[in-house]
């Protein structure tokens, strides 16, 4: 059934909210300043409940089934984290409360930063960036500030072709010119390629590790040495941290700056696109450049400290997405040392899928993967079946499709990240579905072209949407 748009519902004068009693007189206001108020529909509370209940039913989430969207780490979002974030003491807290009345959240932020420092091996941490991309921006601001401070502003940043898509834009926002580095034949970075490009006008390199092919950049220490040798810095995109917690100390690899995506590795809800949180972890040497304010502990008291003259400044009006930080903190406390198991199982699951599907789908890099594996549609192309068809058909089997056509270095990529949350039975069901689709690609390519059949709508005309944009009603 269709659900009408909000403004196709309701009746003027109806109400869906409880307004406090009026206990003061009306105060007049200059007519020149006042308007008519927005043309919102008037609904009852039940109208609102039904509308959003129905809309939600057309959505697929981790709670609906396996969601192996590569590079997005769609793990289980624990329900208890929602309880914690909604405690009135947290949810009702004004950000400018005096420190005496904010000790609970200041302590939480202080300890969360320490845990993230321990997990990454980069002990100086800001929690302020609102998402991974703002974390990247923060990292680039630090690059910029560092080089300015050391007296040598630089103009370029190296970015391998296996890095995350946001990296070039983040670098560009800080005035850096991104320079692409081609990865080697094994899908990983070759030190020589970096050495050839690294010079003293290059601020550093941005490396996603494990990279977007799901492979560990095993030459990273050599690469870091090359970059450091030229006075550059190494930025690590920690979006894929879920693969290596407790296994790799990122600080040991020569990485100077790393952002994390709490909505990936640390189980905070994705919420249909956000809010996220993108803490940035740096070496002690770069700590002075972190955003302010920073939470510091004086004896038993926590306070906010603005006094870092080299700081890049503020990225958020207050302290970032604290509600998200609370959830990540809850997750870390719930798992503690078992975070290493999280990574082990995430990697086990990806390798299991890789191994079981590699007869059915083309595997461009057949080597042990980390938390995700990348196939292509090469075998299916023979039957005129493309990655998109395979993805859409998976919906008819009750699965969310993997990430498709990314990374760009692989043509027709199918990037599968199961995460540690999925059980062996669920993986087996997914593998069965993928194998059935592979068989169907041979037997009935049109069945795939016509998919999906079961969701509320069929394939949507994206060209029409972009050519004649209709962005509001």
């Amino acid at each position: 059934f269709n659900e009408p748009l909000l403004w196709e519902k309701g009746s003027p004068g109806r109400t869906g909210i409880s307004l406090p009693r009026r206990d003061v007189d009306e105060a007049p206001l200059d007519k020149a300043l006042t308007g008519d108020g927005p043309d919102f529909p008037d609904l009852s509370e039940l109208d609102v409940v039904r509308h959003f209940t129905k809309l939600s039913q057309w959505n697929f989430g981790v709670d609906s089934g396996m969601y192996p969207l590569g590079s997005c780490t769609m793990k289980y979002n624990p329900k208890t984290n929602e309880r914690q974030a909604s405690l009135p003491g947290f949810a009702g807290a004004h950000p400018l409360l005096p420190e005496r009345l904010s000790q609970g959240l200041l302590a939480l932020m202080h300890d969360l930063a320490a845990y993230l420092g321990e997990i990454t091996g980069l002990p100086a941490v800001t929690l302020q960036p609102s998402a991974g991309s703002q974390g990247e921006l923060t990292g680039m601001l630090i690059f910029s500030a560092y080089h300015k401070h050391t007296g040598k502003p630089r103009s370029k940043v190296l970015i391998p072709d296996t890095a995350h898509g946001t990296n070039p834009a983040s670098a560009a926002l800080c005035g850096f010119k991104p320079v692409a580095v081609k990865s080697g034949p094994d899908g990983i970075l070759v030190p020589e390629a970096v050495a050839a490009l690294m010079d003293d006008d290059t601020a550093g390199i941005m490396i996603t590790n494990p990279n977007t092919l799901g492979l560990f950049e095993s030459n990273i220490r050599q690469v870091a040495d090359i970059v450091h040798g030229k006075g550059g810095l190494v930025y690590g995109d920690g979006a894929n941290m879920n693969a290596i917690m407790g296994v790799v100390n990122v600080g040991d690899l020569g990485v100077d700056v790393l952002h994390l995506n709490l909505h990936k590795t640390f189980s905070t809800p994705h919420g249909g696109g956000g809010p996220g949180a993108g803490p940035v972890c740096v070496t002690p040497a770069l700590a002075p450049f972190l955003p302010v304010p920073r939470v510091v502990k004086d004896g038993e008291v926590f306070r906010l400290d603005e006094n870092y003259p080299l700081s890049v400044g503020k990225l958020h009006a207050f302290y970032g997405n604290v509600g998200i930080l609370i959830r990540a903190y809850s997750y870390i406390l719930s798992l503690g040392k078992c975070l290493k198991q999280v990574s082990q199982y995430a990697v086990l699951n990806a390798n299991y899928i890789k191994q079981r599907l590699k007869g059915d789908y083309h595997l461009p890099f057949d080597r042990p993967c980390m938390h995700e594996c990348v196939f292509t549609d090469k075998f299916q192309q023979e039957h005129h079946v493309a990655t998109l068809d395979i993805a859409k058909r998976l919906m008819d089997h009750g699965f969310h499709p993997p990430t498709i056509y990314f990374p760009l270095v692989v043509s027709g990529a199918i990037m599968i990240e199961p995460t540690e949350s999925e059980s062996k039975e669920t993986l087996d069901q997914f593998i069965d579905a993928m194998q059935q689709i592979a068989r169907e690609a041979k037997a009935c390519p049109d069945c795939l072209h016509e998919s999906p059949q079961f969701p509320k709508v069929r394939r949507l005309d994206e060209t029409l949407a972009a050519r004649s944009p209709c962005l509001k009603g």
Partner: protein, 444 residues
């Protein structure tokens, strides 16, 4: 551990398929010198019940509303949030979904955000709104960068009456770019003084906030005219309290080219400042220069209406370094919350609620004035206003904390010239009795 489904038997069977001897062997591709030597130095895992106790303790150490009466806004507002919003947001289908890359199974998120965009346009009187930015501050920075892209000029002007913390974020974003931000002064009445505008040269954009940081309602219509005296300059209308548009002229009506601000007021908990909601809208003609995600209406193969992410060619995963912004997510769940809230409030409700906010704030302003504490500024205000208190007020303010009252925000750290001034806020959550109590306490 209840989040980790694997049993020893599962692990054994899977390792065998993979051909790895044990879990460590899975990491064979990581060179030895890249392996972590020491175990993670983290606390023992807490049980669900231990975690509850621990978090309850931390939360008890906060002076949060409604237990504490907070007469402070300054960009974070305590408004009532209907239980309906809270419960609907917990629905896993909304909550655990990612960015709607696969529209066929994401129509819930997509229609909701399309509705969000539409309601934001209606509220702000603008042509087109994006799917949201991180917060009001970074939204303003993005808006100013957008004026530079659109106008191909290099300088922007920002009012000193814009939220000081927003201005600091703008500074951060501008620092490495080489573009310049100049400040517009505040006049005697608490509004931006635009008289010097014409001397500032070719401006890409001019940003004012209304109600501004002092709670004063700027004369935005007049400002729009002055700014557009240079037709290439974009007028950026910022805000931190969108509820005001339930009774004020909208940015669009005042000629704004871009309207942007913080939407936390619209059904989102304060949560110590975040997550909030960066609302962002512009004129139709600038849509392709706009940062952020956009949802559009289209049809499926059978001609049925549906919604998709669109105009992605502006975005970083396609345009890479030429993208309009590096932002690749939005505040999806917060935008969803605000859509639910705006739907529950309705047009009639938002008019009434905005009125009540203003009228209660006026009551406190008048009561304080009667008690001898007047405002340095004469411009009309919405639900915040500045009061000048006598020298020793800091002591009173501290004493009131003990009585669970936060009697406004001291302006000194933000505006040294207003060192005896405090920014007061009254929303619908503060009633007449609360205000009478406050006035009694500050006058005793």
């Amino acid at each position: 551990m209840r989040y980790l489904p694997h049993t020893p038997e599962d692990i054994r069977a899977m390792l065998q398929v993979v051909g790895a001897a044990d879990l460590d062997a899975l990491f064979a591709s990581i060179p030895d010198d890249c392996r972590r030597k020491e175990a993670l130095n983290l606390p023992e895992p807490l049980t669900e019940w231990e975690l509850n106790g621990h978090m309850d303790n931390l939360a008890a150490g906060m002076g949060a509303s409604p237990g504490t009466k907070v007469f402070m806004g300054a960009g974070s507002y305590h408004h009532h949030i209907p239980e309906v919003t809270r419960q609907l947001l917990l629905r896993g289908e909304y909550f655990t979904a990612y960015t709607p890359y696969q529209p066929e199974i994401s129509q819930g998120t997509l229609q909701t955000i399309y509705e969000y965009q539409s309601l934001v346009c209606r509220l702000l009187g603008m042509d087109v709104a994006n799917a949201s930015m991180y917060d009001g501050a970074s939204g303003l920075a993005e808006a100013l960068l957008m004026t530079i892209r659109v106008s191909r000029r290099k300088t922007v002007a920002v009012s000193r009456a814009v939220h000081p913390l927003y201005r600091r974020v703008v500074e951060t974003y501008f620092a490495p770019t080489g573009f310049e931000v100049v400040e517009l002064p505040v006049g005697q009445d608490g509004r931006t003084d635009l008289s010097g505008l014409k001397d500032l040269g070719e401006l890409a954009g001019v940003a004012l906030q209304s109600p501004n940081f002092f709670g004063c309602i700027e004369d935005m219509a007049a400002a729009g005219k002055m700014i557009h005296a240079d037709p290439k300059t974009l007028f950026v209308a910022a805000f931190s309290e969108p509820l005001a548009f339930g009774m004020l002229k909208s940015p669009g009506e005042c000629g704004a080219d871009i309207a942007c601000g913080e939407g936390q007021s619209l059904g989102i908990p304060q949560s110590f400042g975040g997550p909030g909601l960066g609302m962002f809208a512009s004129r139709q003609s600038y849509v392709r220069s706009m940062p952020g995600r956009l949802i559009g209406k289209t049809v499926d193969r059978d001609g049925k209406t549906g919604f998709v992410l669109t105009l992605a060619t502006r975005e970083q995963h396609i345009r890479r370094e030429k993208a309009t912004s590096n932002i690749c997510s939005n505040q999806g769940l917060c935008a969803t919350a605000s859509t639910m809230y705006m739907a529950a409030l309705g047009g009639t409700g938002i008019r009434q609620l905005a009125r009540l906010n203003r009228d209660r704030a006026e009551y406190l302003k008048a009561s304080l004035a009667k008690a001898g504490f007047s405002s340095p500024f004469s411009a009309p205000t919405f639900n915040e206003f500045v009061v000048r208190f006598p020298d020793k007020f800091e002591e009173t303010w501290k004493a009131l904390l003990e009585k669970k009252m936060v009697a406004g925000l001291h302006l000194e750290p933000y505006y040294p010239e207003l060192s005896d001034c405090w920014l007061m806020c009254v929303t619908e959550t503060i009633d007449r009795d609360d205000m009478d109590t406050l006035v009694k306490e500050v006058t005793r």
